[in-house]
């Protein structure tokens, strides 16, 4: 069992995309560089507190939407557009967390020396289910593997606690699964969500 928390399927965050996520109650900006590296940063620009998840990716840098400050892969500020000639002091830096792509999912917060298993999978989709993680896990059944994944039909399901009442169900299938089967799995996941949310409110 590793401490990696899934935050997306590997295809769920396009290259050049940025999104918000929550890991252990902490708000993060997850971004995917043009070259394919994934990053997980505190979701707060050191300048004036703007959420970096609203920012934009330029190559291997993430820029803040408010004043366009750029940050490199290590979280250090690389450019301040209001002062084009200024070399930003090294003290301006966004706190980062370990983030990797493995086995068809994007993971945050574990020990980089012990990444999740590298099993080829194709991301299917991520669904927000409005029940606590324990409830969804119980409904899914199955025995979690070393990375916490449980089977969902032929797919692998990875669970992320978004907050106390919402869980994200990330699904990935074996690479050669047909489109028909993948759509059927997507619908099965919707059915599961309906069922477990109804069970929760009942």
């Amino acid at each position: 069992m590793t401490d990696w928390i899934p935050v997306s399927t590997a295809t769920g965050l396009r290259r050049g995309g940025v999104m918000r996520s929550f890991v252990c109650g902490q708000e993060l900006a997850i971004w995917h560089s043009a070259g394919g590296a994934v990053h997980a940063w505190d979701n707060r620009c050191p300048h004036r507190g703007m959420r970096l998840s609203h920012g934009f990716v330029r190559g291997e840098q993430l820029a803040c939407l408010y004043h366009g400050w750029h940050y490199g892969a290590d979280g250090a500020c690389t450019a301040i557009p209001a002062h084009p000639d200024l070399v930003p002091p090294a003290s301006i830096c966004v706190p980062t967390s370990p983030c990797i792509e493995a086995g068809g999912f994007v993971w945050v917060g574990g020990d980089p020396a012990h990444p999740p298993a590298e099993i080829p999978r194709l991301g299917l989709r991520s669904l927000h289910v409005e029940v606590p993680l324990a409830t969804l896990r119980a409904h899914l059944g199955g025995t979690p593997d070393a990375d916490g994944l449980v089977p969902f039909g032929i797919a692998a399901a990875a669970l992320q606690a978004w907050d106390d009442r919402t869980t994200v169900l990330h699904l990935a299938t074996p690479p050669k699964t047909s489109t028909t089967d993948r759509i059927a799995l997507s619908r099965a996941a919707e059915a599961l969500r309906r069922e477990v949310e109804e069970w929760q409110t009942a």
Binding site: H47, R48, A82
Partner: protein, 288 residues
């Protein structure tokens, strides 16, 4: 929020005894409830002008100025700020209604004082890359800690005003006459030598929620009023999505919490000025 009634007397005098914009004169109904500093006030039109009562039924002062109704929740200890340009002939007043924003009223004012965001938030209108540089400008706090002023502010703008034909270097002056009011003066394309005046009057509903009343006083005889209002609403609504995504929502007054640069001199002075006068409603003093 107003249901959990604030104890007004617990607020600092500097906050309680100030004037706040609560409505636009021409669209205000004859009687209405309005939320201010977490409490509900009742405002009515009478033969003698507008009158207001506090939640406990006691009367408080009202006045109309700059096309809006202003209310003092406590006992006024100063006049409403002066804006002599409002009475200058040839100008057109443009009140724009209110936009509700889930942010600290102080963050709304600070955003209004900032030019460095123009290329990224008001792209193609008030700024555009690569014209991102903020040149050196001057900031002062006027005598008796009365007001914050920034002068000699200059910025390249693709479409500075509805009346501007193309890109120009625009001159600005900024002014904070009260903690929840900000006024800017900018180059006026049809009338060189004069300044267009644009202001926001911020009504604090709570420490993290406000109604922002933009108001302009312009030299522009050509553009229809509707188009002027919508130009201003467009700009302000671009800011709204920023303001609702600043963390924390309260304005941090501890200088260690956020990192300013030279372009933020006005913001730094504004924060110091707020702290010095104890105007901390909507602010946080602690580090995260």
């Amino acid at each position: 929020m107003a249901d959990r009634m604030t104890d007004l007397t617990a607020l600092p005098a500097v906050t309680l005894n100030d004037w706040y914009c609560v409505a636009m004169e021409v669209t205000a109904p004859d009687a209405f409830d309005t939320t201010l500093l977490g409490a509900t006030f009742y405002v009515t039109r009478t033969a003698d002008g507008w009158q207001a009562t506090r939640p406990d039924g006691t009367p408080c002062r009202c006045q109309t100025r700059y096309d809006h109704i202003w209310l003092c929740p406590g006992t006024p200890d100063r006049d409403l700020f002066a804006l002599p340009e409002a009475d200058q002939s040839g100008r057109r007043p443009v009140p724009c209604g209110a936009v509700r924003v889930a942010c600290s009223p102080l963050r709304a004012v600070e955003n209004f004082l900032d030019i460095a965001h123009f290329p990224f938030v008001h792209t193609g209108i008030l700024g555009s890359e690569p014209h991102t540089e903020v040149y050196r400008y001057e900031v002062e706090i006027t005598e008796g800690d009365a007001e914050v002023w920034a002068t000699k502010v200059r910025f390249y703008q693709p479409q500075a005003a509805k009346s501007a034909a193309g890109g120009i270097e625009t001159d600005y002056m900024y002014r904070v006459p009260a903690p929840m009011v900000s006024v800017l003066y900018k180059t006026c394309p049809p009338r060189p030598g004069e300044w267009d005046v644009i202001a926001i009057f911020v009504q604090p509903l709570g420490p993290e929620l406000c109604d922002v009343w933009p108001w302009m006083s312009l030299f522009d005889d050509e553009t229809p009023q509707e188009a002027l209002i919508q130009f201003q609403q467009t700009i302000f609504l671009q800011d709204r999505s920023i303001l609702e995504n600043q963390v924390p929502r309260l304005l941090p007054l501890d200088p260690r919490m956020e990192v300013p640069t030279r372009a933020d001199l006005t913001s730094v002075a504004y924060r110091r000025w707020l702290k010095a006068r104890g105007a901390t409603y909507g602010a946080t003093l602690e580090a995260l």
